[in-house]
């Protein structure tokens, strides 16, 4: 064997830790409007560069520019803005509810509201979304009752999933919202299977799935992309790169080496990369992928570039592993602020309307909380204990019957 110097193990580290100044100088950001928009029928091999660019529509002046501008009407924009505001307001209230001991757990999506809200609006409710725990905006943008969300969070007697799941693990079939799994990544291949089923039946529903940057390392990510490519499944595969996976920066998932979007190249999937804090860019990229899937041209991978503003969950304290003001320094800004500025710019919104919308959101959430808390918060109210034994199978077997009898319910 050659006599070479000793090897050494490289362990990736983020640009900043607590006490450091946030450093985003490594980010290569395209200007709004700078990235071309390929035809929807483009061969994946002809658009590989898209995986290394960043689709942006809203520029620093609040102007919507370039080929990806989806040219939405102001009503749609206002609906989107309001849904984002409502999502953030809901998050804040539930986070507080956890501190007040009303629930055992909560997870916010602060800074990522544009993603689920825009995508929830682009996709149809008959389509099926396979979300992670950070796409509550899907439900909110579609008008799912906030009180039902709270009932789930409180595991109270009206919890639609009967007290069986951790808070925020919603399931809302009628709203195109798949039952959230605690197990990261599993939904990704399931979404592909669901999409294959729709194609197999000759229906025209498509699926969409979300996964975090960190969770792309899970096996199901790989099997999902493989099956999606091989069977040309009608599915939109989103990677929400919010830079963090609990305490691990995205470099631990391989984000220092290349983009997450580029993972699609190795499966021959068209791959887009989009500014996740830009409502219009998310809308546009999603529409592109949606149309592609709907017209039987197969799956698209979309890396949605954003920043997790909040702690991972109520169990987490990010000040232990990242600079305290990193979120404020995030160069792509805040999705609500940016869409608001745009609406003001085009003369379709005002600071007053914003203040009113915020107040209205607070009011909506308060009303829902009142309704839900009247039923009860965690421990005060819950579904019947017999729900523990129901729906393990379509019909309980003798073990469940005996065990239920033992509990006396």
């Amino acid at each position: 064997m050659k006599n070479t110097p000793p090897l050494s193990l490289r362990v990736p580290e983020p640009t900043g830790r607590p006490g450091d100044k946030p450093d985003f100088s490594h980010l290569q950001l395209d200007d709004a409007g700078a990235v071309e928009r390929p035809e929807i029928s483009t061969e994946p091999s002809q658009m590989r560069d898209m995986a290394f660019r960043l689709i942006r529509v809203l520029d620093d002046n609040g102007e919507a520019v370039g080929p990806w501008n989806p040219k939405l009407d102001p009503d749609t924009l206002r609906r989107g803005l309001k849904a984002m505001i409502l999502t953030r307001t809901f998050d804040d209230r539930m986070h507080r509810a956890h501190r007040q001991g009303k629930t055992s757990f909560y997870m916010k999506c602060t800074g990522e509201e544009a993603i689920a809200v825009a995508q929830g609006m682009v996709l149809s409710r008959e389509d099926m979304g396979f979300p992670t725990y950070r796409q509550q905006g899907l439900l909110i943008s579609r008008g799912y009752p906030l009180a039902s969300m709270m009932n789930q969070i409180y595991s109270n007697a009206a919890d639609p999933i009967k007290g069986r799941q951790l808070p925020i693990m919603y399931s809302a079939k009628d709203y195109g919202f798949f039952t959230i799994s605690g197990n990261l990544g599993t939904q990704y291949i399931q979404a592909v299977g669901w999409a294959m089923a729709s194609a197999y039946r000759g229906d025209n529903k498509i699926a969409a799935a979300w996964i975090g940057d960190g969770s792309t390392a899970e096996s199901d990510f790989h099997s999902a992309l493989t099956f999606a490519a091989v069977y040309k499944a009608p599915v939109v595969l989103n990677v929400v790169n919010n830079q963090w996976a609990i305490s691990s920066f995205q470099g631990v998932a391989g984000g220092m080496e290349t983009t997450f979007a580029s993972k699609g190249i190795g499966y021959g999937l068209p791959s887009l990369r989009v500014d996740g804090n830009d409502f219009l860019a998310v809308w546009a990229a999603t529409s592109w992928a949606e149309e592609r899937a709907r017209t039987n041209q197969g799956a698209t991978l979309i890396e949605i570039f954003t920043y997790r503003g909040a702690p991972h969950s109520t169990s987490d304290d990010p000040s232990r592993y990242r600079p305290a003001d990193e979120h404020e320094q995030w160069p792509l800004g805040d999705p609500i602020e940016r869409l608001k500025q745009h609406l003001i710019k085009i003369g379709e919104w005002s600071e007053e309307q914003q203040t009113a919308a915020e107040a209205e959101a607070v009011e909506q959430v308060r009303a829902a909380a009142k309704e839900s808390e009247a039923i009860g918060t965690l421990g005060q109210s819950r579904p019947s204990v017999k729900e523990m034994f129901e729906e393990v199978f379509a019909e309980p077997d003798w073990r469940l019957v005996e065990q239920r009898r033992e509990v006396g319910v």
Binding site: F130, I161, I189, A197, D220, S223, V392
Partner: protein, 341 residues
């Protein structure tokens, strides 16, 4: 219904073919199961008969196969997937136990997984440690799964039909030692072919064998033998060899278990021997033994005995020392007949 002799492969194939004809939501896929019809030919002709999209080959990704099937089943399809060997089911374990098994429960009944995972399992074919395993107990521990194992062509077809029609996920293990030819427990002796056996007379039409019902293969008064799959035949041979009047029960379904039949038999005989091929420790025999003594304690005249594979991997050169044969069953029978001391 008129019947024709079928081996287990043909019987399983017939079940699939019937169901795919009858129900457009049934489809079949797995590694090499499409054009080629499966390395054991269980899915032979399905692609030809039902089309490319109803019986197809998959990438070599057991987790992908089951994960996709989970998604499909929540759409309303009834996928029947093959894991080429049970030894290769572990990469799919998470999708089976964390997802398929819990889907109905965790979604409050909104989403369900009527899917079947078929897989050839067990030893006796010189497959070495990675083509011989019997992992059934690993699935019996998971709430929300059913586990079915046939021992003969007739049951194989009827049980697979019921598994496909079941609204919950079913793990369906097919004893590959019984696939082509029958087995009478003595590996070194010739055996009369399936077609000469009654349990290989199989109707061409669809029929059901219910999940959750055991079959009494042999009535007897002195001791109850609980077995399933290949071991049913070993149990019968062992009983004959020992000259003991054993009641041999083919469980057919491990979950849900036919506890009534078991309990009634052991209360009658007062003795129980459990036979399986999987390693002893935490094999399904442990559960069976516990249940029997919990429910029949005051009827037992000897300890419940287990005849099982050893707590080692399945070794290629020592196939027949590993495989629990009729001699070991006979020894156990004699032991329990004399109180098991």
């Amino acid at each position: 219904m008129s019947t024709t002799p079928m081996n287990m492969i043909q019987a399983l194939n017939s079940a699939l073919d019937n169901k795919m004809t009858e129900d457009p939501t049934v489809l079949s896929f797995g590694e090499d199961t499409g054009y080629f019809g499966g390395v054991f030919r269980v899915t032979d002709h399905l692609q030809k008969n039902h089309g490319l999209t109803r019986s197809f080959d998959t990438p070599i990704s057991e987790s992908g196969i089951v994960g996709a099937a989970v998604g499909m089943s929540t759409y309303g399809l009834r996928p029947v997937v093959e894991i080429q060997f049970a030894d290769y089911i572990y990469p799919a374990y998470d999708q089976i136990v964390s997802e398929a098994a819990k889907m109905r429960y965790r979604s409050g009944g909104q989403f369900t997984c009527p899917l079947v995972v078929r897989s050839p399992y067990g030893g006796g074919i010189f497959g070495g440690q990675t083509h011989s395993q019997s992992p059934e107990s690993l699935f019996t521990h998971i709430s929300g799964l059913k586990v079915v194992i046939p021992s003969n062509p007739y049951d194989a077809k009827g049980l697979l039909t019921s598994a496909i029609e079941d609204d919950d996920p079913v793990i369906f293990f097919e004893p590959k030692r019984l696939y082509n030819g029958p087995f009478d427990g003595w590996h070194e002796k010739p055996v009369s072919p399936w077609k000469a056996q009654e349990l290989a007379q199989v109707p061409a039409e669809k029929y059901n064998v219910p999940i959750g019902k055991a079959r009494v293969m042999r009535e007897g008064n002195d001791v109850t033998i609980l077995a399933y799959g290949t071991m049913v035949w070993v149990a019968l041979a062992g009983a004959e060899h020992a000259g003991v009047d054993a009641e041999v029960i083919d469980l057919r379904t491990l979950v849900p278990l036919d506890i009534e039949t078991i309990e009634a038999s052991v209360k009658k005989t007062g003795r129980c021997v459990i036979v399986h091929e999987a390693p002893k420790t935490s094999g399904f025999g442990g559960e069976l033994s516990a249940l029997v003594q919990e429910r029949c304690f005051y009827h037992l005249e000897a300890p419940v005995a287990r005849v099982t594979g050893w707590d080692t991997p399945y070794p290629h050169a020592f196939e027949w020392e590993y495989f629990p044969g009729p001699q070991r069953v006979a020894d156990a029978l004699k032991s329990v007949m004399t109180g098991g001391r």
